[in-house]
Amino acid sequence: MRMNEYKMDIGLEIHIELSTDTKIFCKCSTQFGCEPNVNTCPVCTGMPGALPVLNKQAVRYAAAVGDALNCKINTISKFDRKNYYYPDNPQNYQITQFYTPICENGYLEIDTIDGKKNIGIREIHMEEDAGKLLHNDLKNVSFIDYNRAGVPLIEIVTMPDFSNGDEVTCFLEKLRLIIQYLQVSDCKLNEGSMRVDVNLSVRKKECEELGTRTEMKNLNSFRAIKRAIDNEASRQIEVLKNGGIIDMETRRWDDLKEESFVMRSKEEAKDYRYFPEPDLPMVYVDDAMLKDIELSKPQFRHEKNDYYINELKIPEYDAKLITLDYDMTVLFEETVKICDKPKNISNWLIGEANRILKEKEWDACDIKMSPKNFAMFVNMVSEGIINSNVAKVVFEKMFLEDINPEKYVEENGLKQNSDGEMIKKIVQDVINDNEQSVRDYKAGKDKAIGYLVGQVMKKAAGKANPKLVNELLLEELRKDM
């Protein structure tokens, strides 16, 4: 396909669940994964007579994101009602900010193959999340869980400034880190705490005006977003090349089939009958709040990176990997505070920790190990109390269950054996039992030493100090040479 005649314009609508303790308009908990309808009250289930009361923490979080994205923060913003009927929406209207959002006109700089580029932020507004419908097709019934109803959301609307999927991914990764560093959301696409809708249109390169756009929903990973963008651009170009026109429609991405389907056509577009929310007064962001946001601004990724490299003296590669996840930086820094061996700590994080995270498909926030136990563990390794093979086993146990490494090693008899006499005895046994390997070594086959070391370790139940084993084995072998 000759893509190069066309270019694409992409804009994003990003919903992010704020990690406030309570919901946006009532005092119910926002905890994820509870029994259905445990976190509900008259307000978030749309009982008659109930009224919303705004959670100030949500306002602060939204303003902090706006500040980090270089937005103008409106001193006064307002809430509106978006009216539509759906069972997951208990009041059959959503309280949102349609006419006057809390933040406007910002930007975020990203790195592209053509250098740096600013992506415009049109607005950030606050709104409430809906509940969840659970369908049982066998029994032909549906259940509603309102635990999520009323969880605070911000919606970030960008300008149509992206030219390809790579720019989108780069932007989203940067945005996610900023928000995680601000600690206002965990931004998990797979759990729905970050949801991205892609608005995409294509046009001939020489054409000044934007083409007709479609909106793509149900994008549950960065990879799905990238695939959906490429697929939708191709689809639109194909339609245009065949003389067709693009319908302004909402499409749903199916990542397994790698194609999208029409969800809602323009004709079916809803009239939301927006009007100002009469139950809530205006939202004020005063100087005190702005000052507080400024003062509590965290170190963002590049600042932390510099700090790790220059002050903690860890390699750039390690620093980059650790700062890729805010929770990882917390674990790293807290551990360094207790045990001043940054390099040793980062080694375990970028090595074993990353391996287990990938294997378990976990995020850093799922790591169970506490900085205290981790620090204790690093000290034990560097003091030679456990050998490196045992260390890996202990690390994984601690990583998954936060066991106390000292206690664990003690109880399971995993301490490194540095008893020279005992190891010497094993070495002699091994030499006696493996004449062939000994001959091989003496004949110049250096590899044979590895086998012999392995045999010694095996006899010592893996606990022998490997350095000592090596030394003693060489000593014994050289005796007869």
């Binding site: 007579g49 009224l51 509603i144």
Partner: protein, 476 residues
Amino acid sequence: MNRRTVLETVKDIKSGKIRIKDLIQECIENIEKKDNTYNAFISLNKENAIDRAEKLQARLDAGEDIGILGGIPVAIKDNILVEGLKTTCGSKMLENYMAPYSATVINKLEENGAIIIGKTNMDEFAMGSTTKTSYYGETKNPVNIEYIPGGSSGGSATAIGTDMCMVSLGSDTGGSVRQPAAFCGLVGLKPTYGMVSRYGLVAYASSFDQIGPMGKTVEDVALTLQVIMGCDSKDSTSQFNLEKDYLSTLSKGVKGLKVGIPREFFTEDLEDSIKESVINAAKVLEDNGAIVEEINVGNTEYAVMAYYIIACAQASSNLARFDGVKYGYRSMNYESLGEMYDNTWKEGFGEEVRKRISLGEYVLSSGFYEEHYLKALKVRRLIWEEYEKHFEKYDLILSPVTKVSGIKLSDDVDSVKLYMDDLYTVSANLCGYPAISVPFGKNECGLPIGVQIMGKSFSEETILRAAFLLEQRNGD
């Protein structure tokens, strides 16, 4: 009971002259005797009320203070939630809806010793001024059973007028407390918007709704207001207000107050006897040292139009939650979600409610929002500015409450005419001002007439003083 005021009764209860249980029994007997005829109540709270009477009596006998409404039977309009009692809003939609919590005003009443006797009939979802749109049948006027009690808080008015309770709560969105008070010869107050918490009041038009007390006397109403008012953390539109002792200032008189009477309110269709009552009331105020002058308030007919556009628009959104999904009525007749919504709506709501919701959805729909809803908001703003100017000069505005002094149950009044009859009452809701209806004079058939006194926001004290004076001189 019929000659005792709340304050006197509370004193008699304290002194032991009246046993609380006897008072409650008397109300229940009245209900059992008369309510088949009057239909003031949708549901009763008999057992709980008696039980509570006994408990309060025990506390009182033990020397405890049981509150300034200690032992007083109160009726509650059926759009205010009382935990454990049904809240129907006069609708089939909520026929079996059990309130899961109590409104803030109910908690305040109970903390102050009041006893909830039952839930009163009303126009469906407070949409109406006759109490005839109720799914639970019409209510009769306590003064003359051939007449309507007015509405939408008709049941709350009739319950007082027939001694089935001593005071009651209504809700006033466009005159729903004041108009039935006028028709039934009672006192009804719409407090300043934000003075009384709306938490637990089923919303009709959120920008206008206010819970208001109704009673036989200005004093009863002032006392009840004192109990239910106050800023509430559960209602973001409730406002800071100082605790006031309205009772102590009631008899201070009106000397030096400036009172305006809007010229435009004396329309051709205003009944002569009402006109006369307003003029007589003005004279009484003047005789007692007030300065009364005629004023112009501009295009009053736009007030009614702006009111209905805003109220219906908000209602269309507020009532959307009654969809058959979570609680309330659900049609048995559906194949799809859309059909369930549609049929629940058609079968659960009465005609007037459906009409107002449709009108509300229309004025909010894309392409009409600017020319209807936004324009209505602008009109509201202009009306408010006009009144604010008058309140720089005047303390009070005196006017009629209604255009006619009574409507027969058998009369079939066209609904647009009924809407236009709200002319005198809607301005207080549009602007958030407090306004009271107090009986003053009678028509040739002996039906009571009410006059309205409106003041600027949070001027309840002044309004109550003027109303108290008129009450003393009524029938002179």
